[in-house]
Symmetry: C2
């Protein structure tokens, strides 16, 4: 009586596993600035709850497997502002971007096949891919280069005969790296030459700063038959707990495949879909306001982090993460120090060690990721605590 090899090989979430020590620190009376997880303190637009409160059917019935019509309609209209034309049959609603990714890997990878992805990358991809017996081959990037990866030689060196897809997270988690539309075109061209699918995770789409244009693989018609877009309301509308995402593609065989999986699990929750439809109907000015808010936080966090002597960091262009190299041998050991031994006026700070975002053994040990999900003042104080912590840690 054993569990499967695939779950035995999996790790507990490296983002969440330090939570216990943070709770202990809080129990001792310390204030912990939690910069470790992408849970913003930004208010969910009230139209979400308003739409749900108005639901008046007597029976909470199954929804259609592919999604509630009013949500699909709202996504179609939302896409049009970026000149992306997806029809009902090109979109399938999922339980967050997470289920969209699980379904995509299930639909694409046979056991032993792989997808390539720039590392460091959002660590749960390992779980999504590993649970169907696939693997991720890394395109290794460097803090010194701002984690750039849109380079033909780098990408092609990761492809082998078992590669089925190129994964692209832009704006990127955990690096904040943003691809331009031209860089996306290069990735598309390489995918075409090697006959690969493109899995484009665009959940941070609007969070691109310094005047960058919104860029999506959905804008590149020449690759439409191989592009799969992963999306979600979690970050865009600060509605992480709604668990509403979607997968979009113009490739019929792929969409038929994910529909089979979707029919198996029947449907996504009805109420959250109704709330999400209201979110997608928000005035586009909402995105400008949200972007400005996060850009301010990014600026504050980056300014403070840059003051740390010995840090290696470039200003992230998007999403709400900053990954950098710290002047310590082991970031995990340093984090334990922060939670167990350090405080400044009763306060300490928590981040995500970046090692879990790499698949290449030994990389990322001296890197951390912070999420700029708190307000500017809190971000400045959190970054200051990291700086003070390093001084104390290196002077022990």
């Amino acid at each position: 009586m054993r569990v499967s090899d695939r779950v035995a090989a999996m790790q507990f979430s490296p983002i969440r596993r330090f939570n216990t020590y943070a709770f202990e620190a809080e129990a001792e009376g310390k204030k912990v600035y939690r910069l470790n997880i992408g849970q913003p303190d930004v208010e969910t637009p009230p139209c979400f709850m308003d739409a749900i409160r108005k639901f008046d059917k007597k029976v909470i019935a199954y929804a259609e497997s592919g999604g509630v019509t009013e949500l699909l309609d709202a996504i179609i209209d939302y896409n049009k502002q970026y000149d992306m034309n997806y029809e009902h049959e090109d979109i399938l609603i999922t339980n967050g971007g997470s289920e969209a990714l699980v379904m995509t890997f299930t639909a694409l990878l046979n056991q032993g096949e792989n997808a390539i992805i720039a590392e460091p990358f959002y660590t749960n991809y390992n779980t999504f891919c590993g649970q169907v017996g696939g693997s991720l081959h890394p395109i290794t990037t460097k803090a010194e280069d701002g984690y750039a990866w849109a380079d033909r030689e780098m990408i092609e060196s990761a492809i082998d005969e078992n590669t089925k897809a190129i994964c692209c997270i832009s704006p990127g988690n955990p690096t904040g790296r943003v691809l331009t539309l031209d860089e996306m075109r290069l990735v598309g061209q390489i995918a075409k030459e090697h006959d690969l699918w493109i899995i484009s995770d665009e959940v941070y789409r609007e969070f691109a700063y310094d005047g960058r244009d919104v860029a999506s693989f959905g804008m590149l018609d020449e690759f439409a038959d191989r592009v799969i877009i992963i999306d979600s309301v979690s970050k865009r509308f600060s509605a992480c707990g709604a668990r509403v995402g979607c997968v979009m593609s113009k490739n019929r065989e792929f969409m038929d495949s994910v529909l089979k999986l979707a029919q198996g699990r029947l449907c996504c929750p009805t109420l959250d879909q109704i709330g999400a439809a209201a979110l997608y109907r928000l005035d586009p000015s909402y995105y400008d306001e949200a972007r400005a808010e996060y850009e301010g936080r990014r600026n504050a966090a980056y300014e403070e982090i840059s003051k740390i002597p010995g840090v290696v960091c470039q200003k992230p262009g998007g999403a709400f993460y900053l990954t950098c190299k710290l002047p310590v041998d082991s970031v995990e050991d340093f984090l334990m120090f922060l939670l167990k031994e350090f405080d400044d006026n009763g306060e300490t700070v928590m981040f995500a060690p970046a090692e879990g975002f790499y698949v290449t053994e030994g990389l990322g040990k001296d890197e951390m990721r912070i999420a700029y999900v708190l307000n500017q003042e809190a971000m400045r104080r959190g970054a200051e605590l990291i700086r003070l912590g390093i001084e104390a840690y290196n002077n022990r």
Copy 2:
């Protein structure tokens, strides 16, 4: 650029694929009695929406991966009425019973391994199991025997060297077969002798009629280390669209494994969990009322179906399904006739052909499943339409 072998081998839902023809019949002005899908017309208890409407946090934030504490507490208390003692760490909240099953198969089966299950069985098990490269080995049952399967010889003949688990759906979908606690003990004993897991799908737990006691593998302490219980609010509380289920086990290695998968997809929707907690807090008299309602529907449906000359049917003991043999060569062809050619005073009827519930090639072609999800009058009329339809079909 191909999709994976596993999705290529999957079917579209045999329960849902006749929907198109039903819509066409309705567009022509026919009334269609939809007995094909387990979507009851019973009102969802209003406490579900009431609890959700009261939610007043500003941010719809991620929940804990394992589930919201107030829901876990409510399930723990609900279990106690059946002398089942599960702690927080023994329960993990899932997106309906569906995700609980996907996670369970992912956690147990390596590629090429199998679980055994009495056929006919709830067809989506094929999708849940197939998406991780596993397969289902049938214990074939017969309409003539009321689909009985709790027999040592029948069960052991389905086990081979790659078998990892025995699946048990009781009360059963699609047959309505209910296992007694003694029969569960026999299944447990066989599992123990062959060192197998027990996956017990108990989503219809309270729907056992004719004075039958509620029976659960959770009551059998001697098998606690190998028992995995799948549960859901969908049927018990007529809340199919809430998509709240759970997986429960006392086996730590198994629960750690599903927690890894749960952390990967972050969490289930916050609001639906809050609503579900209120459902589990309903007075136990709710189950008696719901049971009486469905028992009346069962009686009405069975009485009418029994009137059909040549039908092979035993009275189902639980759930809300009735599967039987009809006096036609092809039930699928007959269903198409009902939807496209037949009507009686402008009315026709829809059921689920049972062939999709079998894995053994050729079985079930002359069987159908109806769900007694409509009120008694509608059930009688639906069954009458099947009888009239058979007369017309066989006299063409």
